[in-house]
Amino acid sequence: MFKDEKFIFPKWANLIPIIILIVGISVVATAHFAPFILSASFLEKGYSPVQPIPFSHKLHAGKLGMDCRYCHTGAEKSFEAMVPPTSTCMNCHAYVKKDSEKLKPLFDAHEKGEAVAWVRVHDLPDYVKFPHKSHVQAGLKCQTCHGPVESMERVKVDNPMSMSWCLQCHRRHGNEEKMDDILSEKIISENRTISQIFSTHWEDVKKTDGKVVREGFRNLKDLRDFRPPTHCSGCHQ
């Protein structure tokens, strides 16, 4: 052994550059991907919880073609679209599929006078107020936000439902100079009749409403209160 021993790096020190590299890359990667991972389009979009009863929108709204408002009665009246009371289901299921095992929770609830505890799919934060009525009045179809529900076996979140997603529409719509852009994008179509709005034949409407849009827009523009809110208190009240 040397008396005047020099400091020699231990062997593992050879790994330091690699460790620095890996840590560095992961820090950069985290910084890069974190906004996405934490964003609503990652966390919310595609959320599709299992419901107590495997209710199929594909069957009811798609195949049977039921109007959305048969169950969601609040959509054109109020803030809430409303999940139907048990009695609404029983209007038909008192006669249809009376012995279905899958519908047992429904029949149980009906008998006991209780309700079925559905799992909330579209869940906005409590500090946001989303009025269904205003959006229906502005001519938005249900599918604009909820996606093609009539083709979903189990409902899933089709759009991120984040603030920036909401504002995409609200900002463009409020800006009159960009009117033509809006029309070409066909995000909204104001001249739909109420029954068209709640029609579940999504594709058909998409194809046909090119021309009527323009006139409808003009009608609404004349109203003083046409612009959708882009200020905070429009939704955060």
Binding site: A34, I37, L43, K77, G113, R120, R227, S233, Q237
Partner: protein, 1021 residues
């Protein structure tokens, strides 16, 4: 104060730097770990089993109902979300209150959810059930000699049910009643009448110890009528109000002239007036009334007499319920002789379905052991009966004692049985209004029970609760429901009954007016017997509270936290004393004192009140409650109980009191500084001055800056063209919201504060937090003292030196005339400045401007720097120092936030959450909040008309109304679209006397004020 606000001793000791870093480290680690599995917790949607008819979730269902406060009835329209009543509004079609309310009726909804309410019967303090009680009642309790002591005698159904009991004796007691009024009319007319003043026809009003704008019965109706008559903007016609009183009341503050005399001397002033009137009206000479010895006072009274005579049938004299029968008799005589009877005052019979005995008679028969079973319905005599009757001892002579009430109060504690009452929003009822119309009370919710409350559950089912009407039915062995009793008694069936329920009123039942000749001889005889009281002797006046009334609302957090309209003190009932008297007895502000009346002593704390009559102490009743509840008990140990000094021969005021200091005390005073210091924040002018120079308010801007600073800020006066810091928004499109507040109409009742609190989920904070200025009210009522006196007043009028009217009061020890003190009131909420100073300093843009001119506050963005609050010139921003919303509104007054639960967080009961308005975000700790112009109502109104292709406007009546404007009985607050030239608010913004608060600092507020105009007598001395 600022030091206390920033440094919190409780928290400092809990979290030090080291533990903070530990927590931060842990949470950072957790956050990085949870990155991939972050989702909000799973939520459930639980729909109805069968949706009730007409119910749309998210929309309120409104029901007509009624509020009754010992005969003072208001029609209500109660908002209910999914079966939860959340907000009280006035019933617009009700003939008396015309859609308006006051603080107490607004707070009724909170009383419903009071967790200290009793939810089950108890026997000797042990929880029991109604079934047990009913069995025992039939078997043994129902003795042969029953006595009932009831509080409310103005329910036709209840009164009818009293016939069901044979051999029962009926007594009635409320601490404050109109017994003097009925006795007075009996003395004057030979039969007892109820008195109905009509302020809408009165040009000249003299109020004798009568706070008709605030504490007297019928104050909402009176305020509506008075405000309408106050100032006609087009013709500049005003009514004139004189007030003679001991306590400085809101009515005295609104009065054009006020005379501060002891309550006992009000009679002398009235006799002085009669002697002046007798010069013109021969009839009055037979009273041989004496003139006052004080020459100046007599001169003033002569001016009042002259004014009343000139007004003739449009004059009105009113007297408060505190004043003795003789005063009421004299007032009736004066009104008849002036010709006012039939115009400004009418008389009707009194509801006489049942002849109720007095509490004194009850105590006598209890002491004679004539009562086997005593049933107390609603009343709380152990707490508030006259002390000399010794009610508690007398009560024990009855074999069985039963108490029926909302709370397990002082009386319930000593009764064998306590029965839980149903609240007014839980039961059917009917109430006579003052003049015999019948208002219906409709329930909105099943009686809340132990099950809802989430604690003890008795048996399998929720325990019942009965209203007074249902209780009588049960006791008499009947089986009708409350609904059946009320509907049967109404005599209406089918569509007629449905319409009455819908309207909240059974129409066509009012009593016809009555009249008879005045019996002057009786009055003259009575005058001769009045003893002379030395003016030097110290007087105590027992007064009901403007908030908790006689103590019945003591457990209501909203009302406790509401600063008293006059003293601005919350969570207390100070002994009010004038400056000179305090000096004489060696007292200073907030001294703990001992008041003794006829040898009986009571503790209190003094507040020096400008305008209080010399040698007169005001003791406010209703505080110092001791009853037990189950949770916080808001009322316990708040203030002092003065019922112990009140005796049956001196219910209203008495002389010969003593007061000695024994220590110190501290108040939660929301406005300790009450002078305007040179600045006319409330611009107030006399009518003459205003007529000469209608634009005076707009020219007065330089006074916004204090005199000693005017030089420094001289450049502000010049119109500069420097660029604005604010983002330029286009205020020419869409709706542009604005508010106008008419200070000539505003009486300062602070009903708006409670309305705002219930609409906007505003928490209460308790006394300790309020002391350091952390109250959360979005709209506060500022009250400034002004001074109308001064030797060279006349010469100075209209000159610059005249501005500082308030100065004498600000200098302690100055000798000023209490009669010349007046007040100016001003409701201040967020002014929604177009160039808002708060917006410029927010580092996270949590407060920003909307296209419609609203200064928005976004709670989820706020990080709590409080820069905005510091930069707000109006000091209207409120900060959640703790998670106040988690405990509100059942915080007990002594609570220190942060000690009993980390970060002030405790879990709420189901019951506590039920009052909240679902359309307003509940704010978390560390978040700033403020008035939003009730943006939830604006958004809702906009949504409602949009589908019809219409715009909001006043013509269609679609303009949204914020909660404050909706409640304001004086209609002082008007809201609307300022861009619409036809809207009412545009009109009011353009009247001559309209101004902006602190206009000189160029904030361009959207709220404008209309100057307070007074109409003093031109020759007043």
């Amino acid at each position: 104060m600022s030091q206390e606000e920033v440094m919190d001793k409780t928290e400092e000791s809990q979290v030090n730097r080291r533990s903070f870093i530990q927590i931060m480290g842990a949470s950072a680690a957790l956050a990085s770990m949870g990155g991939c599995i972050l989702r909000r917790p799973k939520e459930h949607i639980v729909p109805y089993n069968a949706l009730p008819e007409d119910m749309v979730l998210g929309d309120s269902l409104d029901y007509a109902s009624s509020f009754n406060l010992t005969g003072d009835v208001q029609g209500l329209l109660v908002k209910s979300y999914e079966g939860r009543p959340t907000k009280i509004e006035g019933l617009p079609t009700h003939p008396d209150n015309k859609g308006k309310t006051n603080a107490q009726s607004q707070a009724m909804v909170l009383e419903l959810y009071d967790p200290d309410r009793s939810f089950a019967p108890s026997k000797n303090g042990i929880v029991s059930t109604w079934d047990v009680f009913e069995k025992e009642w039939v078997k043994e309790l129902k003795g042969s000699k029953i006595a009932f002591l009831v509080e409310n005698t103005n329910s036709p159904s209840f009164n009818k049910l009293t016939n069901q009991f044979e051999n029962a004796a009926w007594y009635q007691y409320t601490p404050v009643s109109d017994v003097n009024v009925t006795e007075g009319t009996n003395l004057a007319f030979g039969s007892s009448y109820a008195v109905h003043p009509d302020y809408s026809k009165a040009d000249k009003i003299l109020a004798l110890d009568c706070d008709f704008l605030s504490t007297e019965p019928g104050n909402v109706k009176a305020t509506i009528e008075f405000a309408d008559k106050r100032h006609d903007k087009k013709t500049n016609k005003m009514n004139r109000l004189y007030a003679v009183e001991s306590r400085f009341t809101l009515t005295g503050g609104k009065a054009d002239h006020r005379i501060a005399v002891k309550s006992a001397e009000v009679l002398d002033v009235l006799l002085g007036l009669v002697s002046e009137l007798a010069d013109k009206k021969e009839d009055l000479r037979s009273l041989s009334a004496k003139k006052l010895t004080d020459k100046k006072l007599q001169q003033r009274v002569a001016l009042i007499a002259d004014d009343l005579l000139k007004a003739g049938k449009n004059s009105l004299v009113v007297a408060g319920v505190n004043q003795p029968a003789l005063v009421h008799a004299l007032v009736a005589a004066v009104n008849q002789i002036l010709g006012a009877e039939g115009t400004t005052v009418t008389y009707t019979k009194i509801h006489d379905d049942v002849d109720y005995g007095s509490i004194k008679e009850l105590v006598d028969s209890l002491n004679n052991e004539d009562v086997e079973t005593l049933v107390i319905i609603g009343a709380n005599p152990v707490y508030n009966a006259p002390a000399d009757l010794k009610f508690e001892q007398a009560m024990k002579k009855a074999k069985t004692t039963i108490h029926h009430g909302l709370h397990r109060d002082e009386t319930a504690a000593v009764c064998q049985w306590h029965l839980n009452a149903a609240h007014g929003l839980e039961s059917w009822g009917d109430w006579y209004t003052a003049d015999g119309k019948v208002s219906l009370q409709q329930p909105l919710i099943e009686p809340l029970s132990e099950v809802v409350k989430g604690s003890v559950k008795i048996g399998d089912k929720a325990e019942k609760a009965y209203s007074a009407i249902e209780l009588l039915t049960v006791l008499s062995g009947g089986a009708e429901s409350g609904h059946d009793t009320v509907s049967q008694h109404s005599g209406l069936i089918g569509a007629g009954w449905k319409k009455a329920v819908h309207d909240g009123l059974i129409s066509g039942r009012a009593y016809p007016p009555q009249t008879s000749a005045i019996r002057l001889k009786n009055i003259a005889n009575k005058i001769a017997t009045v003893p002379v009281v030395s003016s030097k002797s110290l007087e105590v006046v027992f007064s009901i509270d403007a908030k908790v009334h006689d103590g019945r609302y003591a457990n209501n957090g909203w009302l406790q936290e509401l600063p008293d309209p006059m003293t601005k003190i919350a969570w207390d009932n100070p002994v009010l004393i004038s400056h000179a008297t305090a000096k004489e007895y060696g007292l200073s502000e907030a001294d703990l004192v001992e008041v003794s009346v006829a040898g009986v002593k009571a503790k209190g704390a003094v507040h020096i009140m400008p305008g209080q009559a010399k040698n007169s102490l005001t003791l406010t009743l209703g505080y110092g409650r001791t009853f037990d509840g189950e949770k916080g008990v808001v009322a316990r140990d708040v203030g002092f109980n003065f019922y112990t000094l009140r005796t049956s021969d001196a219910m209203n005021f008495t002389s010969g009191a003593k007061i000695t200091p024994i220590g110190t005390y501290s108040f939660a005073n929301s406005q300790p500084h009450s002078v305007q210091e040179d600045r006319d924040l409330v611009k107030h002018y006399d009518l003459d001055l205003y007529k000469q120079d209608p634009k005076i308010a707009t020219r007065d801007i330089e006074n916004d800056i204090p005199k000693n600073m005017q030089q420094k800020y001289a450049h502000l006066k010049e119109k500069t063209t420097t660029k604005s810091l604010s983002t330029d928004l286009d205020f020419t499109k869409g709706y542009q919201w604005g508010m106008s507040i008419d200070l000539t109409r505003c009486t300062g009742c602070a009903g708006c504060t409670v309305a705002c609190q219930s609409e906007n989920n505003i928490p209460i904070v308790g006394k300790e937090e309020m002391k350091i200025g952390r109250e959360m009210h979005w709209i506060r009522m500022d009250r400034y003292f002004t001074y109308q006196g001064g030797d060279n007043l006349k010469q100075q009028q209209g000159t610059a030196e005249f501005k500082d009217k308030s100065l004498p009061i600000s200098h302690e020890g100055d000798n000023y005339d209490e009669s010349d003190v007046s007040i100016a009131t001003m409701p201040v909420a967020c002014q929604h400045c177009e160039t808002a100073p708060c917006e410029e300093v927010c580092p996270v843009a949590a407060t920003s401007h909307s296209q419609e001119g609203l200064n928005d506050m976004t709670y989820n963005r706020c990080v709590g720097t409080r820069y905005c609050s510091n930069n707000c010139p109006y000091k209207v921003r409120r900060y959640n120092y703790y998670h106040f919303a988690q405990k509100s509104p059942w915080v007990s007054p002594g609570t220190t936030w942060g000690t009993d639960a980390t970060f002030g967080y405790t879990k709420l009961d189901k019951l506590d959450k039920m009052q909240a308005n679902p359309h307003v975000t509940v704010r978390y700790r560390g978040v700033m909040e403020k008035c939003t112009y009730c943006v939830q109502r604006i958004n809702k109104a906009r949504m409602d008309v949009k589908g019809e292709g219409k715009v909001l406007n006043d013509q269609d009546g679609t303009t949204p109304t914020p909660a404050c404007a909706q409640a304001c009985p004086a209609d002082a607050i008007v809201f609307g679209d300022i861009k619409d030239p036809k809207s009412k608010v545009s009109e009011l913004r353009n009247v001559d006397s309209s101004y902006k608060l602190l206009e000189a600092i160029n904030t361009k507020p959207r709220t404008t004020f209309i100057s307070a105009i007074k109409n003093p007598h031109p020759e007043w001395v």
